[in-house]
Symmetry: C2
């Protein structure tokens, strides 16, 4: 569990896109983002107050979150200087970088001397149980995709935000690095050992109030042969009551698999639902979330209308239209 | 890769069943089993020559394999004495115990001093790639089950043995501890990190001759919510051309999941085949392997006949009847 709120470290980000983790935190958990820390040459700007370490501490920030991708996969000496100062100033550090904080002996030594924590969110910090399949109280919704990176995390975050806005009980349950940094907690599922995958998701989504929804972040796709086992563990560990189908209509081949084409939404529905019913016979497919970022407004709206008519479920792009209709579909079951 | 042949360590096994790993090696790879090592009070006997360490070395044994379950999950001082002597005598050690050899400082020190290897087959020794889904040459068969522990490993071993007897090209590909100890090689799939599961199976079953079959050891079940992600990775990483359905007809609930009943063979077929076709559109279900150990001969034969008629595929118990008809079904595709 990462201590909030955060000071967002943007480093020397070469452009806005490099700071997309920080952007996600600011967009989805603005209350966690006290300010931004930018180094010389930083080309990203979240529109937050620029703060030095002392100012951020005074403003209440507890953790410096590396919200930017590093170049070349290494933590540069310039970054290192700031990270060491942050530890000395009393911040914990949190990072989703491949280059782990714990693999830097100087950071480990300073953190220990200062009594601070290093959080590498790519590495599980919990000994997860083996799944027991027992029915849990409360409700769960899982986004499943025709491919990886089609908007499953965005969909779950948008639905969670909309539910909270409406006064409904909802928790976004992070299963990947970005989601964990946004919320401060979660399971880095792709780094969990095979036998404990489904159990880690049971652990993440425990018994809850009958009218509470866990909005579980999806991973991979049943149709993506590299990661389908991870998706399977989410479907059985998550015991979803509701599935949302996610799709990106302009993509021609599966991400990273040029020999594989995407399935249709119907194929996704017909594959995912029987599998979900193994763990929860009451599971239903309730809506469709389409990522239309590469389509014009006109094309997007006509595509959504066509899908909605064809499949008979609400079909929206939550980025363009909000997640209201998906939340209403959840509320109806 | 574990050096063969083996001396099989039976320790102070309380009964024959406790030595089932050693029994598997002797049954399936008798050429790997030079002899057995029994301590005082050992109640198991494989019918192999009893040897001390020196005799076994002279007979060519290279690795002492712990072919017995340990009591209480710890390596006892009595065992330890033998294991240390074996290292000093020039043996590598191999074990599938939960209590890892590498977690015993004295064994590690002696192994290092003697230049010997400690193989904990529960722990991956290879850095596996992420699956790329590319079509590989050669053919692959995977056993999938209605539940865990219904005879998938036995089926693959029996088919592999039958194919070799007929002069066909076949390799048994181990994906669990027992299978790895039997063959000396394989992937301990349940201990692999989620992102690399499917890639580890691609690694295990590489390009091969067009008329060569990999007989892949199955794990878990698509219907077993604790382990279904592991099964999924086998189906997509293995790219099977042929599936064998495995079932144990007298079992009432899923292993370790008292709230879950077993699916029918038809439900297994209809779930597994579309998933397998994602990675290999030519995949077929070719046969059915039934574990009838808890049925009388008469009941078993009538059950097999009924299943065969109902599903329209050869249905056999390879333990009672041999795997000939399953091999013929493979050969026909």
């Amino acid at each position: 569990m990462i201590q909030t709120p955060y000071l967002l470290f943007l480093g020397d980000a070469p452009d806005q896109l490099a700071a997309k983790v920080a952007q996600g935190i600011k967009d989805w958990r603005p209350e966690n983002a006290v300010g931004q820390f930018r180094m010389e040459g930083c080309k990203a700007d979240l529109g937050l107050e620029d703060m030095d370490l002392v100012e951020a501490r005074e403003a209440g920030a507890k953790t410096l979150v590396i919200g930017v991708a590093n170049r070349g996969g290494v933590i540069s000496p310039e970054w290192k200087k700031v990270l060491v100062m942050a530890l000395e100033e009393g911040f914990d550090l949190a990072s989703g970088l491949h280059n782990l904080l714990r693999d830097e002996p100087d950071l480990v030594a300073v953190a220990e001397a200062c009594g601070r924590e290093l959080h590498d969110v790519r590495v599980p910090e919990v000994k997860y149980p083996i799944a027991n399949g027992k029915k849990r109280t409360g409700k769960r919704c899982l986004a499943v995709g025709t491919d990886c990176s089609v908007g499953k995390m965005y969909t779950a975050l948008a639905m969670d935000a909309e539910m909270k806005k409406r006064g409904l009980k909802s928790s976004f349950r992070a299963t990947g690095q970005t989601g964990i940094l946004i919320t401060g907690d979660g399971v880095p599922l792709d780094a969990v050992i095979a036998d404990f995958m489904a159990g880690s998701i049971e652990w993440l989504t425990p018994d809850n109030d009958n009218d509470h929804w866990d909005m579980i972040e999806g991973q991979g796709s049943l149709f993506h042969v590299s990661y389908s086992g991870v998706t399977m563990a989410l479907i059985h560990g998550g015991q979803p009551d509701a599935l949302i189908l996610c799709h990106e209509p302009t993509r021609e081949t599966m991400r990273g698999l040029p020999e594989y084409t995407l399935p249709t939404l119907e194929e996704l529905r017909d594959m995912a639902l029987p599998l979900a019913k193994v763990a929860n016979p009451a599971c239903q497919v309730v809506g469709i979330s389409i990522n239309t970022q590469h389509m014009s407004e006109e094309d997007a709206l006509s595509y959504l209308a066509e899908v909605e008519k064809r499949i008979g479920l609400p079909a929206v792009d939550p980025f363009r239209q909000g997640a209201g209709r998906l939340v209403e579909a959840l509320d109806a079951i």
